[in-house]
Amino acid sequence: MKGIFSLMGATVAGFVGVLTLHSPPGQSAAVSKVTSPTSNTTTSSSPSQPPSGTTTTTVAAPTQNVNGSAVGQLENYSYGQMSVKVTITNNQIVGLSISSLQTLESYSKQLEQYAVPILKSEILSAQSTRVNAVSGATYTSEAYAYSIQNALDALHFK
């Protein structure tokens, strides 16, 4: 089982990233795209903000199996900061967990309880055969996606 992971980043009017997951042959590929309103100051101050302009990076299949875990850097989201731990076995994302979540107001307890598990299942479901997608509201997605990307980079998972 050989996985291909490629990252495409595109910036339009501020702050946009595209995360592509190509599953092993025989399965579908999944892409997560993140958009955020340019007026949202918390996201535009994100430390991993991609450069302005349009960039596209496509990386070929890894020559070796990637295994291990990494914690992505802390990312700002609308109501605080979060980071994500990613675990990879044989080029498959097998685990995603919230490594740390700092929230600002009581409102964010809602996010802790609801939004985060939604996002987790969304990313994992891209590689699962039981469910192709999850229907329901999403919110903290952007910070989540960038922290995952950061963790994947740390694992040299391309």
Binding site: A13, V31, K33, P37, N40, L119, S135, T138
Partner: protein, 236 residues
């Protein structure tokens, strides 16, 4: 729109270049629509219309007006973007409509099987059945249902963003989670909002529409569904 859009593309027998080009163009279409319909951007056409800075609407805006009017009629007023505070707010329809347009871009590039999930509103190219899990509104690590989907499915609820829904007829919002399946996503999306607001009143309306099914979960955790609503067996 500030949401995550994920693409699931069956790339069997398709070149990487073709899939990449199709995804790039689908993303570009989403950005164009976001620039036009975002309420976060003060220079979007929608924001400028609401502020009265422009009076002439584009053909895309006219299409959204028309779809909103249809959704308002079908839902007997339970979806009504004209009564929102702050002025005309088609957000409950535009996200699904934008995903629909992005999906047609994939289709035009020769992709045969694909799913687009725009913040929980899902549309798929015809010919493939996808299993779509519905987030459980009270127990977030679980799904409350899995629904086989061949066209579109949308879920509206007050469990994540708090109560952002408004009942045009006053009173409470009926459901904590409402799902509509079938038809085209622009209308499915709007009707999921209507079902969340109107509950049984809108469920009866759906019962009378061929090709649309739905269910909702009320504040007490009770589930109500149309007679033709089909769930996958493996809800676990």
């Amino acid at each position: 729109m500030g949401t995550v859009v994920s693409f699931l593309v069956d790339d069997e027998n398709l070149s990487h270049e073709l899939v990449s080009a199709a995804l790039d163009e689908a993303c570009a279409e989403l950005h164009r629509l976001d620039n036009r319909f975002s309420l976060w951007k003060s220079d979007s056409e929608l924001s400028r219309l609401r502020e009265g800075e422009v009076t002439e609407s584009s053909s895309l805006m006219d299409e959204v007006f028309e779809l909103c009017a249809r959704a308002c009629t079908i839902s007997q007023g339970f979806f009504d973007p004209w009564i929102m505070p702050g002025g005309f707010d088609p957000t409950g329809l535009v996200k699904g409509w934008a995903a629909e347009r992005a999906l047609s871009v994939l289709d035009q590039h020769g992709i045969g099987a694909a799913l687009i999930n725009a913040g929980g509103d899902v549309c798929v190219l015809p010919g493939t059945t996808y299993q779509v899990g519905i987030r459980h509104p009270q127990n977030p690590v679980d799904l409350c249902a899995v629904v086989p989907t061949t066209s579109a499915i949308a879920t509206s609820g007050i469990y994540e963003r708090g109560n952002h829904l408004i009942n045009p007829f006053g009173g409470d919002v009926a459901a904590i989670s409402a799902t509509v399946v079938g038809g085209r996503l622009a209308l499915t999306d709007a009707l999921a909002t209507a079902l969340a607001v109107g509950g049984k009143s809108v469920l009866y309306l759906l019962e009378g529409i061929v090709g649309l099914e739905g269910f909702f979960i009320d504040q007490k955790g009770g589930m109500f569904k149309t007679s033709g609503m089909i769930f996958a067996d493996d809800v676990s």
